[in-house]
């Protein structure tokens, strides 16, 4: 992987990795830092000679490891706290404030889901990753991932009747 290929990967996947981090830490600035760190670490791994077969899946794997490290060091912002302080989704423009309300509803759905369901669901439906890529990123079998997605969707439907 050359530096140009790496930058192309950034152009293609930066938003998805940011989103992935955002749905885990629920804070825009931290998600942005985690996204940046994900790409920096990935480049570092490559420089040290790590063989990267599927860059996209590898990026998610690195992001997940960073998120786990992050969650060990900081307490995740609670839903109650977010409801009191409002969601950190960017500037205060009118458009963003409308988006904030919608995002709040979305966050409520997503955050109440168990992380083992939340991760594969977001990766499949929001990030459009294949089962194989999700399995690789999460270190699980494809079968396990498929089962989790199925159960997760079922829980959402039961709880929120969507």
């Amino acid at each position: 992987m050359g530096n140009q290929e790496f930058l192309k990967a950034y152009d293609a996947y930066a938003d998805a990795i940011f989103r992935h981090c955002y749905f885990r830490v629920f804070n825009r600035e931290r998600a942005k830092d985690l996204m940046q760190e994900t790409f920096a670490k990935t480049w570092e791994y490559f420089q040290k000679g790590t063989v990267i077969e599927n860059l996209r899946a590898f990026l998610y794997k690195v992001a997940n490891n960073l998120i786990i490290d992050e969650s060990r060091k900081r307490q995740m912002t609670s839903l109650e706290e977010m409801q009191e302080t409002g969601f950190d989704v960017g500037d205060n423009s009118h458009k963003q404030m409308e988006f904030s309300a919608e995002t709040g509803q979305l966050m409520k759905f997503i955050q109440t889901l168990d992380v083992k369901y939340r991760e594969p669901i977001i990766m499949k439906y929001v990030d459009d990753l294949s089962l194989k890529e999700i399995a690789e990123a999460l270190g699980e079998t494809e079968n396990n991932i498929a089962v989790r997605i199925h159960r997760g969707i079922k829980r959402i439907q039961e709880k929120y009747e969507v």
Partner: protein, 360 residues
């Protein structure tokens, strides 16, 4: 709300184009090819420019060491990186072995101090200036300063005042900026900034490299030097530092022209102001030289050289790391400048944002 609607809303969450561009810029720097590194190219060019007198066997040895992938890869490493010891203990020592004259040895040792400075800026930019890396950096910085100091003292004892002053200027300017970097981290810690780092490991308050290292070299060294020079030695000293100042001012002007598109307007303006000041001081020195006031000429050329050297480091910090170093406009020239680095990497991001806006 249907599940599909939820998914569509989730997909709308993305980075702002500006945010994405800022991080991309940072990654471009991180992933730049080794051969494009300013440090690497200028440095290796200088090695090969000295290649002629080297015996064939030694040339082959040097070529084989430098052409090794590890050695080249190590050139871009920073304290704490796997290849950093190769950079400092192999690459740099090899170059030192092929510096035959006192002059070239002094140049190389001054360059090594500047390399440690660049590493500090690099780590600050990366947000990886944790306590372990700082310790490595502080130790290496101290070692280089000790070596360079003894070289300067030797030059002075041999009445090579112009060269001693030139090298001393480089050392003092590097130290002044190094202090500002340390101060930056102090102020970040004091202000309880959320983080100075993109790295989770370095979220703890960083330790500042021991200041004893920095204080060992007096900022007034060059001023004191003028008191040590005998009256009959001032003419050659003034003419020597005049040449050095001419070369330095020219080097910085070329740098500014070559990289103007990659520099923020404020940085270009700061450099221009300092270059104008260096030019003016140089002209005054020239007038004093013609009127045979060699002592004053020496002092003025020394100041012109120093101001140009500061401009160079300001430009390099901006070009390489997008870190802006601010000096007061009414600058003086004996280490009294109040340089200021942005108080945190977060602020650097903001500043970089502004720069990108201006470049639109």
């Amino acid at each position: 709300m249907k599940f599909e609607e939820l998914v569509q809303k989730a997909k709308k969450i993305s980075l702002e184009p500006r945010e994405k561009a800022v991080v991309r810029h940072w990654l471009e720097h991180l992933a730049r090819p080794v051969a494009n590194s300013l440090v690497t190219t200028t440095h290796f060019q200088s090695i090969f420019s000295r290649f002629k007198p080297v015996p064939i066997l030694a040339s082959i040895m040097l070529m084989s060491i430098l052409s090794g992938g590890i050695s080249f890869a190590a050139e871009n490493s920073l304290p704490g990186d796997l290849l950093y010891p190769v950079k400092v203990q192999v690459n740099e020592n090899v170059v030192g072995l092929f510096s035959f004259t006192e002059d070239s040895k002094a140049n190389w040792e001054a360059r090594r101090v500047e390399r440690r400075l660049e590493e500090a800026v690099g780590l600050a930019f990366r947000g990886n200036l944790d306590s372990g890396r700082q310790e490595i950096l502080a130790n290496n910085f101290e070692k280089q300063i000790i070596k360079l100091e003894s070289r300067i003292v030797k030059m002075e004892s041999e009445a090579k005042f112009a060269r001693a002053t030139e090298i001393s200027n480089r050392l003092e300017t590097a130290i002044a900026i190094r202090e500002k970097i340390a101060a930056k981290f102090e102020s970040s810690a004091d202000a309880e900034m959320p983080t100075i780092s993109f790295s989770l490991e370095s979220a703890a308050t960083p330790k500042i490299p021991p200041k004893s290292t920095i204080k060992r070299v007096s900022p007034e060294r060059a001023t004191k030097l003028t008191q040590e020079i005998k009256p009959e030695q001032f003419q050659s000293a003034a003419e020597g530092i005049q040449k050095a100042a001419t070369a330095k001012i020219s080097e910085v002007k070329n740098f500014l022209t070559k990289f103007k598109d990659r520099l923020a307007n404020e940085t270009r303006e700061q450099a221009r102001i300092r270059l104008a000041s260096a030019d003016q001081t140089f002209l005054e020195g020239d007038a004093k030289l013609k009127s045979k006031d060699y002592k004053m000429a020496f002092d003025l050329f020394r100041q012109a050289h120093r101001v140009a050297q500061e401009a160079k480091l300001i430009l390099q910090a901006e070009k390489e790391y997008k870190i802006q170093i601010q000096f007061n406009s009414n600058h003086e020239t004996d280490g009294k400048e109040q340089a200021k680095l942005w108080p945190s990497v977060r602020h650097e991001k903001v500043e970089l944002n502004r720069n990108l806006n201006k470049n639109d």
